[in-house]
Symmetry: C2
Subunit: 168 residues, 2 copies
Amino acid sequence: MLDLRQPADQILTACSLSAALEAIGERWSFLILRASFGGIEHFEGYQGALGIARNILASRLAHLVDHDILARHAFPGDRRKVAYRLTPKGLALLPAMVALRQWAEQWEKCVPANPALVDSRDRMPIKRMVVSAHDGRTLTAEDLSWCDLSELGRTGDACQGQAIAAYS
Amino acid sequence: MLDLRQPADQILTACSLSAALEAIGERWSFLILRASFGGIEHFEGYQGALGIARNILASRLAHLVDHDILARHAFPGDRRKVAYRLTPKGLALLPAMVALRQWAEQWEKCVPANPALVDSRDRMPIKRMVVSAHDGRTLTAEDLSWCDLSELGRTGDACQGQAIAAYS
């Protein structure tokens, strides 16, 4: 039994996951972001890579721009030169994208995906993404609990400092 | 400029992300999983927590069961007692779910979500999820490259061992 119970009426209001899904919770949006991380920038590039209908692509790109995940870099006078590039907020999705990719490698495809993601410096594969405690121990769902932020504050300065550091 | 370029025609075929999205790439599926991690097991529980239409909930639960992410635990004679519980494959989604939640905390809501996820042992907040090199260095998108698996094999036994360990 997991220790992650939360009052049911809090699930949608308190959970940031809802906010994430509002921004990117749609199959094409994920694949567009995947292409963006792969260096694709132009409308025609996305269209060719994903085989997505042009009206859907336009709508999804606009949505990602509205959410400040992609930024539109326009060149006046040449509409074909508009580039959609990941913003800092978009680049910050890397851990979530990599975690999903690794999950599918292990559980959906059951083989390492080819090509593999490696560290450019030494060409060694990246580590598996895990949830870690403040001291580096790997945590599973059974190890996690919910804690009210005000309760974190009451457990002492060190703990509060950790909480702030973890979210800053 | 990122160093994650990949031939465009490989994006959909080679990327495990597509497989992940086929399994869970839909807003309601994510929220059902979020509720599952929160300990909800019964149809009426999901329905009450998410306010989702019953036919959509039934379809999404069936899809997650088909993909071996949730397992159906039935009690003969009492249909209300059917429980949907996370399988090992479903539990393995924890890092992806936590990474998405943390991203939204920082970039969508701009405040720490309350309640916070903490380590049950010491009530300290969990670490921020990051992509790590084999030696623990934090990597950004700029630090990553693609590497063909056969190339990993050729770079020596140590590297190949790492590759296998990373995906085993």
